[in-house]
């Protein structure tokens, strides 16, 4: 696939209609309509279990949809295999960074390049066919590695990187795959504050390179710092979209996060109650369990009001 677009350069890059997916009777994803503007940075937020990651998985072919269509660059790509979705330009990352631990950082990035001649079995044994391309890709990969601040780690095995560095590597690798739309699943999860700003800056630079960004995030600071548009999901549906300020003050969103209508957090609290009781009975304090539960709504109310 070449980098030339076969679609008009204006209009939304991604349009999804009626996409739904159920697990055992529960509608995990039920999106009636969603658009991603070309050249924008779009944040997808929502409480735990809202279906954000499942929606990502469905769009990128990692999970089957029960129904619905989605068009990318004007082409119907609904239900395509994961690798095919990536080839047309929808490249995604994962919630916990997935690198190839036994490959070097450089090879991790280089691997992502499209149309590698040496990746065909028929030419693999003839280095003269692919050697020149390999060298050029190596230079580009090194450049991207330096771009995310991993310049001095290029020869190290990716398995030796810290969690935050892996996130950076994933970003460089994603860019190497020459996407039109880069879909980042919680790009800040597990990244220490020192690397956060770097990562934010890099993501902000992407639209300038012709890459549209759609990302899932919990941290409202991050969301309001870099996104043009915020879309909020709850119980599989899209309940609000607009600027960060608009969405954060939307009563439906506040409801969803505080459990007013969704019951999501209440369910979770009910589920955890016996466990917490038991921990109490053992004489331990319950403060280790609450960080997960309160994290999202705590930051939500702080960061939502500009």
């Amino acid at each position: 696939m070449s980098d030339t677009t076969h679609a008009p350069d204006d209009g939304p890059i991604l349009i999804a209609d009626g996409v739904h997916r159920s697990f055992g009777g529960v509608r995990a994803v039920d999106v009636e309509h969603m658009e991603v503007e070309r050249g924008s940075v779009v944040a997808l937020i929502g409480p735990n279990g809202a279906g954000k990651t499942t929606f990502f998985n469905v769009l990128t072919g990692f999970e089957r949809a029960d129904g619905g269509t989605w068009r990318f660059e004007g082409h119907d790509v609904s239900g395509q295999a994961a690798y095919a979705a990536a080839r047309v330009g929808m490249v995604r990352t994962f919630q916990t960074a997935r690198v190839f631990p036994r490959l070097s950082v450089l090879d991790n990035i280089r691997l992502a390049a499209k149309d590698q001649k040496g990746e065909h079995l028929r030419s693999a044994l003839f280095p003269w066919v692919w050697r020149r391309q390999e060298a050029a890709l190596g230079e580009r990969a090194a450049e991207l590695g330096r771009w995310v601040g991993l310049g001095d780690k290029l020869e190290d095995r990716a398995g030796t990187l810290s969690g935050g560095q892996r996130k950076l590597l994933e970003l460089a690798r994603g860019v190497m795959a020459a996407p039109r739309l880069l879909m980042l699943d919680e790009p800040m999860a597990g990244v220490n504050p020192a690397l956060r700003q770097l990562l934010l800056d890099k993501i902000r630079e992407l639209p300038g390179e012709g890459i549209t960004v759609l990302f899932v995030e919990h941290d409202m600071d991050v969301v309001s710092a870099i996104s043009d548009v915020v879309v909020c999901m709850a119980e599989g549906r899209i309940i609000a979209s607009g600027t960060a300020g608009q969405v954060a003050s939307d009563p439906r969103v506040i409801d969803a996060y505080l459990g007013g209508s969704s019951g999501d957090l209440r369910d979770m609290a009910d589920e955890l109650a016996p466990v917490v009781d038991e921990l109490y009975a053992d004489g331990r304090t319950p403060d280790s369990t609450d960080s997960d539960g309160t994290d999202s709504d705590g930051t939500d109310s702080d960061g939502a009001r500009p």
Binding site: F23, A28, T53, T54, N57, F62, E63, P274, V275, E278
Partner: protein, 450 residues
């Protein structure tokens, strides 16, 4: 650490065999019956025996040996050797060197009512290697077997095949349930499960056999065998798999470990137990059959079917109702959640291994009662057990039961139309087809992958 289980086994086995006193030295096992039993010697270089041709002549459903049949070996028209089959139906004719020979069965020497199967040759031309004896097979049949006039009717044959299929299926299901529980709680597909099956049968034989064993009544011996295989299952978990899980070994590697373990144990059995199949004492004799409508069964088969069925019901109820059963299901469903709710998953897994070992042992004892005990009996049914588990859906207990029944009935019924040696093909083909069409099994549920 890994060795512990094996050493314990060697020790107990050698103890048993010394208790047994002067056990008869094993005659070289006739290797014509099942090709798999020849494995230890086929690829061994530089064997000690000179070249020879051997055959075992049997006919009829039970494979009764035929005595007094004359077979000659010739080369380029010149007779080289000649022998008459003994009471066990075997005969061996030495040949001078490697090469191609004609082996001819003298049809006139066959007893009345036995003939060479239609279309099968009475002269074979095998190629003999420089060392070792080469088994050849003549296909004999009891005359009139093909005519429907004298024998049982098609309906009778089908119903009795179905009955034996149900029995085999239930017995396999016992082992399959354990295999499935282990998979459910640990994610491991235990390729050494066949050895748990054989272990139960073999221990029971040592407890039961009057010559070479303790001579206990079969029922008592069986209880001992089941207990021993439960402990054996526990030693798998404590000696092998738990330490491996602690080391963080990937499941795929654990499966390869289970293969290695199966290999070592199986051939250890062949050394300790010997290569010839043995029968349990009280069931060695043929007893009159019991008729149930159109089906006639040997009483022991009836007992086996009933006991297997009762055990499966009991294990089903145990999993549904008992506290421990609920804990096992919880660990299978969601290990993290069950740990969080206070279940000691390591203890549950250990119990699962004990239960799985005991069930596999019981299944082995039943297989040995209706046929015979042998060192590689576990290997022979391992794939069928897998078939049962996969058919029902890996990790679902009820599925394993139904899977066992389906595999047993389908494969036994297939012998109505196909040769008996293709039975296993039918069972495995069922498995492969299910894997291709519905990999989650009949009762498995597709799970969320995220």
């Amino acid at each position: 650490m890994v060795l512990v289980a094996l050493l314990a086994l060697v020790a107990s086995a050698s103890l048993l065999s010394s208790l047994a006193g002067a056990q008869e030295p094993n005659p070289t096992a006739p290797t014509t019956t099942a090709p798999t039993t020849t494995a230890p010697t086929t690829t061994a270089p530089g064997g000690v025996t000179g070249p020879a041709i051997t055959t075992t002549l049997t006919a009829g459903k039970g494979g009764e040996p035929i005595e007094g049949v004359v077979v000659t070996v010739s080369r380029d028209g010149e007779q080289i050797g000649r022998a008459t089959s003994g009471p066990d139906g075997t005969l061996t004719i030495p040949v001078p060197e490697s090469g191609q020979y004609q082996v001819t069965l003298d049809k006139k020497s066959l007893p009345d009512g036995v003939e060479v199967q239609k279309g099968a040759p009475s002269t074979l031309t095998p190629f003999v290697q420089a060392s070792g004896s080469l088994p050849v097979v003549f296909r004999l049949t009891e005359a009139g077997q093909a005519d429907s006039g004298g024998g049982p009717s098609d309906v009778e044959r089908l119903t009795s095949l179905a009955a034996s299929g149900i029995r085999f299926g239930l017995v396999i299901a016992l082992a399959a349930v354990g295999l499935s529980l282990i998979f459910g709680t640990t994610g491991l597909t235990n390729f050494a499960h066949g050895e748990l099956i054989a272990f139960g049968a073999i221990v029971t034989w040592y407890l039961n056999a009057p010559n070479g064993g303790l001579g206990l009544p079969l029922l008592v011996a069986a209880v001992g065998g089941i207990l021993a295989s439960g402990l054996f299952g526990a030693s798998f978990e404590l000696g092998v798999y738990r330490p491996l899980r602690r080391r963080g070994m990937p499941v795929v590697s654990q499966m390869v470990v289970s293969i290695g373990l199966a290999f070592a144990l199986r051939y250890l059995f062949s050394i300790v137990f010997g290569q010839s199949p043995q029968q349990y004492a009280q069931y060695a004799a043929q007893s009159p059959t019991v008729s149930l409508g159109p089906v006639s069964l040997r009483p022991k088969d009836l007992v086996i079917t009933a006991v297997a069925f009762a055990c499966l019901i009991a294990i089903g109820l145990f999993l549904q109702r008992a506290r421990l059963g609920t804990a096992i299901r919880a660990v299978s469903d969601n290990r993290d959640l069950s740990i969080a709710s206070g279940i000691d998953d390591q203890r549950v897994i250990l119990i699962v291994w004990v239960v799985a070992g005991a069930l596999a042992g019981l299944s082995g004892i039943m297989l040995a009662s209706s046929d015979s005990t042998s060192w590689n009996m576990g290997q022979r049914v391992l794939l069928v057990t897998f078939a049962a588990v996969v058919l029902g859906g890996l990790g679902t207990t009820f599925g394993a039961m139904v899977g066992g029944l389906v595999v047993g009935i389908v494969s036994d019924l297939s012998t109505f139309w196909l040769d008996a040696d293709l039975k296993i093909v039918v069972a495995l083909a069922t498995l492969v087809v299910v894997l291709l069409i519905r990999p989650q099994g009949i009762f498995g549920v597709r799970t969320r992958t995220a």
